[in-house]
């Protein structure tokens, strides 16, 4: 462990794990689990959206593929979701790679809208293919606790698992970011043509990063299914879910492995608390959530991470900002 940052990440993880073991409140554990789940999903989204500049609004498709694959296999053949999770991940990765290849030439909004279409197609397919997915009635996963079933009595267990997932994915992302692939991906994001002309294999890298992103998103989907124990098209394959993954990453700050974590730690508890506490007028919680979203975009268009780092910079007088490669947020990208 020569790398200091890795030590820190692992330290933070350990602290959190210990903290969880001390928390007895199930609502808090639920919050930790969901925050972890969305941090994981946003981190996965960020591999495509933040690193290689493929702004997807269709990641709900991969989330759904993951959840459906493992659940169908588990309910019909009894196959452990731990295995089903990997199968779902691989299927999602293949779909993603193909789709990314198809949409290779599309940029910005057009890519986003094309991926949005993928999510919608998956939604309709899951509603219509009733013999496989049980359609919109959804799949109830029977509550049979057991490690192999990936179903647990205690929410703390779910919290341990998802935090471990987050840790592994964060380390993975961190090493990617540090490796030459990270620089290739940044290069593609910032100026694809130039990067390709310098010998970066753009198409393969984009397809690859999209596939990896989809793989992890599908794993998040399986985890979700095993946690909620009920899946249906309306809770998995809706645009809102895809938007949520992207929002968390963007609000936190794309292009860094800390951004999605930060976004999730702030947004998920916020929305849960709003929903729990602002319940006297129907819709007020969503209204406030919307206002907060708008405020962040308006006042901190680069996300929260650079903002927080700036505070640190001012405090410590060090140039923390420069360590973070700027995302697609620079003005030149628009000109």
């Amino acid at each position: 462990m020569r790398d200091k940052k890795v030590c820190i990440i692992i330290l933070a993880y350990t602290v959190l794990m210990i903290a969880i073991s001390l928390v007895g409140n199930n609502f808090l554990l639920d919050m930790v689990v969901l925050t972890g789940l969305w941090a994981f999903a946003a981190q996965a989204w960020n591999i495509a959206g933040g690193y290689s500049g493929q702004f997807s609004l269709g990641h709900c498709a991969f989330f759904g593929i993951g959840a459906y694959t493992s659940s169908i296999l588990y309910c019909n053949t009894g196959l452990s979701p731990w295995v089903g999770m990997l199968i779902g991940g691989v299927i999602a990765a293949i779909v993603a790679a193909v789709y990314s290849g198809i949409c290779n030439k599309l940029k910005g909004h057009f890519f986003a809208l094309a991926t949005l279409a993928l999510g919608q197609i998956m939604y309709i397919a899951s509603v219509q293919l009733t013999s496989i997915t049980k359609g919109s009635v959804g799949i109830n996963i029977p509550f049979k606790p057991g490690f192999l079933n990936m179903i647990f009595n205690s929410r703390a267990t779910y919290a341990y698992i998802i935090l471990t997932f987050v840790l592994l994915l964060t380390l993975f992302t961190y090493f990617i970011q540090k490796s030459k692939y990270g620089y290739f991906l940044y290069a593609i994001r910032d100026n694809e043509r130039a990067a390709i002309s310098l010998g970066v294999r753009g198409l393969q890298l984009k397809m690859g990063s999209f596939a990896v992103s989809a793989f992890f998103t599908a794993i998040a989907g399986t985890f979700y299914a095993q946690y909620i124990l009920f899946i249906d098209p309306d809770s998995l394959l809706v645009l809102f879910l895809a938007v949520q993954m992207a929002i968390i990453a963007i609000i936190g700050g794309t292009g860094s492995y800390l951004g999605p974590l930060l976004g999730s730690v702030i947004l998920i508890p916020l929305s849960m608390l709003l929903r729990a506490k602002i319940n006297f007028v129907s819709g007020l919680d969503n209204l406030i959530y919307g206002l907060i979203l708008m405020a962040v975009v308006l006042f901190l268009p680069d996300g929260l991470l650079p903002f927080i780092l700036k505070i640190f910079k001012n405090r410590t007088g060090k140039k923390a900002m420069e360590k973070y490669p700027k995302g697609e947020l620079n003005l030149d990208a628009k000109v």
């Binding site: 959206g49 702004f55 609004l57 198809i102 949409c103 030439k105 599309l106 910005g108 909004h109 057009f110 986003a112 809208l113 094309a114 949005l116 279409a117 993928l118 919608q120 197609i121 309709i124 397919a125 509603v127 219509q128 645009l239 938007v243 992207a246 929002i247 963007i250 609000i251 794309t254 007028v281 129907s282 819709g283 007020l284 969503n286 209204l287 959530y289 919307g290 206002l291 907060i292 979203l293 708008m294 975009v297 308006l298 268009p301 995302g327 697609e328 947020l329 003005l331 990208a333 628009k334 000109v335």
Partner: protein
């Protein structure tokens, strides 16, 4: 029957085209995907509904009220919100409008409630008979208004000075600036004009659809598809894209399956993106 379905498809397509036209204009000029488009439609529909319920105004005439109101709303939204993120990342722009959409639909829920309100007009359910062909008066009316609106707006864009400036800005905003165009002003004008189109389409939608806080969800995704299909900011493109989607969707619904018909627009979109990424009427850059 085929002819009947074809005609229905064209009418539905015209409705789609008109509904998407405001989005298309805004997308084309400001290069912003407006995820609050559905909520703007919702507001337009509420204005039409209340104009009918409180003042007894026919949906068609209600545009006299809804157009100015929506125009002002559009100008305010552009000046105070959109304007500030015009140079931000694509995603930041999308999320501003996502947030705005959340705010608007929940404001409607809080202040107007979740009820489904409809304007009741006789012609909503009446039809004209052409041989064995039945043409719904409301659909026909929508079609006529769509065509007139498109002609008027296209003429405006084609022949007025500001129209040319709007087109120039949508094609190359930097150079437009160099030619002395105050692009900030053009954005406001374009957004306002887009909202006028939304107001007109919303008034027509109110004839057939009840309005409630989430009605926009019924239309917004299809509008995205049409805008991309037709080509960025191209009004004729929006109309043609709408008709293509409408016709294929209706034929698929009749001859194949109602349940699967909604997948058609997306498949058409993907195929189109593969073959002609710039859209039917778009320019390759």
């Amino acid at each position: 029957m085929f002819l009947q379905n074809l005609v229905n498809g064209i009418f539905v397509g015209a409705m789609y085209g008109l509904t998407a036209s405001g989005l298309s204009l805004i997308f084309g000029v400001l290069n912003i995907v407006n995820f609050a488009h559905g909520e703007f439609i919702m507001i337009g529909m509420y204005i039409t509904y209340f104009a009918g319920a409180l003042l007894g105004v026919n949906p068609i005439l209600s545009v006299l009220i809804s157009v100015p109101v929506m125009l002002i709303l559009g100008v305010l939204v552009e000046r105070f919100l959109i304007n500030r993120i015009i140079n931000s990342s694509d995603m930041a722009q999308i999320f501003l409008t996502v947030g705005l959409g959340l705010v608007l639909s929940n404001l409607a829920l809080i202040f107007i409630g979740g009820n489904y309100y409809s304007v009741r007009v006789g012609y909503a359910t009446e039809s004209l008979k052409l041989g064995s062909l039945l043409i719904g008066k409301a659909s026909f009316l929508t079609f006529i208004v769509t065509v007139i609106t498109f002609i008027v707006v296209s003429m405006m864009l084609k022949y007025t000075f500001i129209g040319k400036a709007i087109r120039a800005t949508s094609q190359d905003r930097t150079t437009a600036q160099l030619m002395g165009v105050n692009t900030g002003f053009i954005y406001t004008v374009a957004f306002g004009l887009g909202m006028v189109l939304v107001a007109i389409s919303a008034a027509l939608l109110t004839i057939m659809f009840p309005v409630y806080p989430n009605i926009g969800n019924h239309f917004v995704v299809i509008c995205f598809v049409i805008v991309v299909l037709g080509g960025l900011g191209s009004l004729p493109g929006a109309l043609v894209g709408g008709v293509i989607v409408g016709v294929i969707e209706i034929l698929c619904g009749y001859y194949f399956s109602m349940g699967w018909k909604d997948v058609v627009p997306f498949l058409v979109l993907i195929i189109c993106l593969l073959v002609r990424p710039q859209g039917i009427f778009g320019t390759r850059t």
